[in-house]
């Protein structure tokens, strides 16, 4: 694992995340979110989980980011009243980060290097998904179907009332 790559991805991801949290215009924040997703996918590749990285790119950048941009375009009439970052949120976020950082640095067993592993193939993931994890897979399929139908009903209902 390359530490230069690690640093570069960390800088890109965290600056993208800061931009997504702090930029005043929504569409800019949504496009910064894409940078964050690319950075996290690059981390997955660096960690040897190529399949998760590809799924991250397909699902997040291909679907979620496009969905967010569509929603922004559909609701883009009013953007007033958003004053950007406020102090309360910043203090809470800093406190959470400080607590996590303290805990991570204090736990000595976390300062380990990556062991040598055999690469995880997509074939292996497919086998496991079809044997050990077949019920979770079916449940996730059910949840996705229910969520998509629910999203459609949520968006359609208001229209019926207006008629």
């Amino acid at each position: 694992m390359n530490s230069v790559a690690f640093l570069v991805i960390a800088i890109i991801t965290l600056s993208g995340a800061l931009a997504a949290a702090a930029l005043p215009k929504l569409i800019h924040a949504a496009l910064s979110l894409v940078i964050v997703f690319v950075g996290v996918a690059a981390y997955f590749f660096l960690l040897g989980a190529e399949f998760v990285g590809l799924v991250q790119v397909f699902v997040y950048i291909g679907a979620v980011a496009v969905l967010i941009v569509f929603t922004i375009l559909l609701t883009r009439r009013e953007l007033t009243g958003d004053r950007g970052i406020n102090w309360g949120g910043a203090i809470v976020a800093l406190a959470v980060f400080g607590g996590l950082l303290w805990t991570i640095l204090k736990t000595k067993s976390l300062a380990i290097r990556a062991p040598q592993i055999e690469p995880l193939t997509v074939k292996r993931i497919g086998e496991v998904l079809m044997t050990n994890y077949v019920w979770p897979l079916q449940c996730v399929g059910l949840v996705l179907t229910a969520a998509l139908i629910g999203a459609l009903i949520l968006v359609m209902e208001e229209k019926r009332e207006e008629r």
Partner: protein
């Protein structure tokens, strides 16, 4: 020198805190969803990092949990954005400070 597990966890903690900052301090509903997506991405990064650095279990549990978590996050984003659109149609605003009445 290769990065240790601690470094991955620190990056992930920073990503989570930035997501929390966005979710807590912005007033626009879509910004809150963006913050939640950032926090979910940080959680997935943690799953995969612990899988890579721990003793290798068979089946590879961390990777599979990350895959399921991505699927759940997609469902969450779809429902959340549908809610934003429904609320926008009803109230003509997406500022969560102004959404303060039930049965509107």
């Amino acid at each position: 020198m290769t990065p240790t597990l601690q470094l991955f966890l620190i990056v992930s903690a920073a990503l989570f805190s930035i997501g929390l900052l966005a979710a807590l301090s912005r007033r626009h509903a879509i910004f809150i969803l963006i913050g939640i997506e950032l926090m979910l991405a940080a959680a997935n990064l943690n799953f995969v990092a612990f899988w890579r650095f721990g003793p290798q279990p068979q089946p590879p549990t961390g990777v599979l949990v990350a895959i399921f978590s991505i699927a759940i996050a997609a469902a969450e984003a779809a429902v959340g954005l549908a809610l934003v659109i429904a609320i926008y149609r009803h109230y003509r605003t997406t500022n969560v400070d102004k959404l303060d009445s039930l049965k509107g």
